[in-house]
């Protein structure tokens, strides 16, 4: 079973990398990009076959390591 985790910065947390990407898009002529927020995608391959158990386990991984909940939010997709 596969899982995909999206880690994004919480609202209100400054994202200098996103701001730099936005500026660069502007320099390339892409107008009207008002905001860019950069995040991470983490894909996991799991031995677990029960989707509910897999989701619970990946959420625990997110809380303990994959995201820093002080500054980041996460979402878990079971594929």
């Amino acid at each position: 079973m596969k899982a995909r985790v999206h880690v994004t910065l919480k609202a209100g947390v400054l994202d200098p990398q996103g701001a730099a990407v936005r500026h660069s898009l502007g320099a390339l002529g892409f107008e009207g990009v008002e905001r860019v927020r950069q995040g991470k995608v983490i894909e996991l391959e799991l031995a677990e076959t029960d989707a509910a158990k897999a989701e619970a386990s990946v959420k625990e991984m997110c809380e303990k390591l994959l995201s820093n909940t002080v500054i980041e939010n996460y979402t878990v997709e079971i594929l």
């Binding site: 200098p16 990398q17 303990k64 002080v70």
Partner: protein, 225 residues
């Protein structure tokens, strides 16, 4: 004073930190270097330092993987029992990732690695780490980091300010850090995390001694007569 320095793969200020501790330890026993895979600490330690560097290649987030290494469980216990812990640069990142200090250290606002001397204002002399400095003094200490942009939610920031837990502020903010924060204390004032490197400016032969007072402060509290 019995000191230990934790070593992770990618730590690179561990030996400098041990030398700085040795200079003030009050005896000839060298500071112990402890590998991250150890799960227990030696008995009788007074202070543990988490050094600078690039633990685990800064993978995932700076300090994130080091903060979950076996030795850190013991370091967290040590701190929770009132032990003294100093984290410098990557060590500060490890301390926030492990939950011993609040907030997080994010990518520098200008996205660049900053390596230079920074003016630091001593914001409190009420700690074992800063007692030898005068409050308000500006000292020169090197910074060398890519992720030193301190970030905390407004409530946390208010608490840090209200409880006099900001140890150092930058005289000129190099990295976008919230409220110019360069170093903070835990609520029991026994854990200090700071981005600048006092261990690198600890001897006239290194170009200055502005960092030495931090180690003298520690020694004056922890070296028994």
């Amino acid at each position: 004073m019995r000191a230990a320095v934790i070593q992770f793969p990618g730590s690179n200020c561990d030996r400098d930190m041990a030398v700085a501790m040795d200079r003030v330890s009050g005896h000839n026993k060298p500071t112990q270097l402890i590998w991250h895979k150890e799960s227990t600490l030696p008995d009788g330690l007074d202070i543990i330092a988490i050094p600078g560097g690039f633990s685990f290649g800064d993978y995932l987030r700076c300090g994130a993987i080091a903060a979950r290494s076996p030795i850190m469980r013991s370091v967290i216990d040590f701190a929770n029992k009132g032990g003294f812990v100093l984290g410098v640069c990557n060590g500060f990142q490890v301390l926030t990732e492990s939950g011993l200090l609040p907030g997080a250290l994010m990518r520098n606002a200008n996205l660049k690695f900053i390596c230079k001397d920074a003016g630091l204002r001593v914001e409190t002399s009420d700690s074992v780490f800063t007692s030898a400095y005068k409050k308000g003094a500006v000292v020169n200490v090197p910074v060398a980091h890519h992720d030193g942009n301190y970030n905390a939610d407004p409530e946390t920031l208010k608490t840090l300010i209200g409880d006099d837990r900001i140890a150092f502020r930058y005289a000129e903010n190099p990295n976008g850090s919230m409220d110019d924060i360069a170093g903070i204390l835990s609520d029991n004032r026994r854990v200090l995390g700071m981005m600048p490197h006092p261990e690198r400016l600890n001897d006239p032969q290194l170009g200055g001694t502005d960092g030495a007072k931090l180690f003298e402060s520690i020694a004056s509290a922890l070296v028994s007569a």
